[in-house]
Amino acid sequence: MSTLLAVNHLTMRFGGLTAIDDVSFAAKNEEITAIIGPNGAGKTTVFNCLTGFYKPTVGELLLHEGALTHRLERLEDFVVAQKARVARTFQNIRLFPAMSVLENLLVAQHNKLMLASGWTIKGLLGLHSYKKEETQAIELAKYWLDKTNLTKRANDNASDLPYGDQRRLEIARAMCTDPRMLCLDEPAAGMNPKESAELNSLLQFIQNEHKIGVLLIEHDMSVVMEISDHIIVLDYGRKIAEGSPEQVRNDPAVIRAYLGEDEDEELPPEVAADLQRETSHG
């Protein structure tokens, strides 16, 4: 599998606070790469740097597209989505609440439709070429509505959907931009086990059928351990471990980061057993 994203020496400082300290990793095409770590480890900051919302203090972010390489740290946020085709979702869901589910998915196809509408002029005149393109856009929206199980709610306002549906709608909206890399910020937050399982199959479907790279921030280990091909662990802005789910699960540095430094340098047996059960269970 070819490398899709290469993050080299990424550092992000906010005044005196170093949120990310010299983090390097790579994410491959057609793989799910998870970024995990305790709260405040800098996971979302990595995402914000990748999608252009923050300008990194130091470091380069390379997105490979065949022979072409996009330097994400130099692009403005909307250009990242437009040209490099990196789509993202947000930790606190950011839908267009007063617009219908279908409209949310059509807004995601804005650039394509804008071109087809001749920057509004053709569309204003009601030309056929625009109508055709719009029909195709609706078909794409219908496809993702079907995949995310939201077809029945297509005409309802996004704000009227239950929480789990809103999360899935955000993923569907990101996918409607036809991304090369999908960044998901805690997609399973607030979901029950059944919904998490559905999310797993949705993400695997995206990985297998659409052949794109998925970058995932998640706390829910049942999601992370099951579907990730590669896991990167951050703590206090530094990368402390990296590898397959199996490797990460047994890494002492990871266990320490999650459970805190023990005075005896050893985990109490019942906690270790719990952790073992928890992680292998997922």
Binding site: F78, R94, M99, T151, R153
Partner: protein, 424 residues
Amino acid sequence: MSVLNSEKLPPILKDSVITGLITLVLAVPIVGLPTINATEGLQIEPRWSVVIWMVSAVFLGRLVLNFWWHREQTSSSSTILLNTPFLQSLQQLLKFIIPIGVLFALILPTMPFASRYVMDVAILVITYIMLGWGLNIVVGLAGLLDLGYVAFYAIGAYSYALLANYFDWSFWICLPLAGVFAAISGILLGFPVLRLRGDYLAIVTLGFGEIIRVILLNWYEFTGGPDGISGIPRPSFFGLEFKRSSEGTFSSFFGLDYSSMHRIIFLYYLILALALLTNFITLRLRKLPVGRAWEALREDEIACRSLGINPTNTKLTAFAIGATFGGLAGSFFATRQGFISPESFTFIESAVILAIVVLGGMGSQIGVVLASVVLIGGTELFRELEEYRMLAFGALMVGIMVWKPRGLLAHREPTIRIKTEGSS
């Protein structure tokens, strides 16, 4: 009201008595003891009967209100159940109201009651409807709070007045030019405020509106300053003027007797056509990607950026298109009045237009019509109240905001629907 728990009666009575007592305390010095000018100086002439009337009116009023508030709870829940079908039938009704309204607007000048006064008010109301629709693009759809919209109205009006005075160009050439100038100024305003949102944007646009007015006021050589511009040419009907003359005028061409109403009716249809054009284009834009992007921008700008929408372009188009309609309305205003001065473009105009958009329900086209009729037509109705007119205006606005905090018609219909199985 008949079903009332007996234990609720004492607190109700107590509350009403206290209200009555407060009224008594206030009314005795304020109403009860008026001073009159007598020959031997200022004297007090008590009017106890008025005080008694007031106190008993307040007491009884409070009693009735209390009974109303303490009705059985069941009745209030049943009204909620009634509400949904009621709202749905209202939606049904609206579908008929729009064509009927347009038809009524079209045949209004032929109505027997269409006097000069009625037509003037109708023209005024439709001008505000058009301005409301124009501002609705900026505020209602794109969610950019613009307190200086009157600036574009002024730019449109002065564009026409100056072009007509300096170059003697006809109204029909100046009208699109006024729109273009307003659009350019909209973009000029748009650039510095791109990063601003909400309150900050409102302050800057407020400043922009004032800047335009102050320039018009002080650039005496060019705009005539506070003297304004007079003798602005009236529009012609395809080259036929509305004058009392036997050659080349509207009345002579059609073999009609000259009447000053011809021009009024022509102006009425002109503004009606401009307003309907505004509405048509807005409704069309709403269903296009640019319109959806405006609404998306209003809902969540960060999400828009994450989807690759260029917020700069999107905001600038909203400003430019909104300003264009303001400019067109302004140029109509100039040709109708024949005289313009900076006095006509004060902040209160921006406030009224914004009030129309907000009271009508942000983003709602019919809401703007309703609010214009109520606010502009209403203030005309209350003209006989003289100084209390603004009081009625204010009370009306407060009332609408209390009972309909999201505007008269806050319902938003999706721009596109697809058939979904198992849903209505």
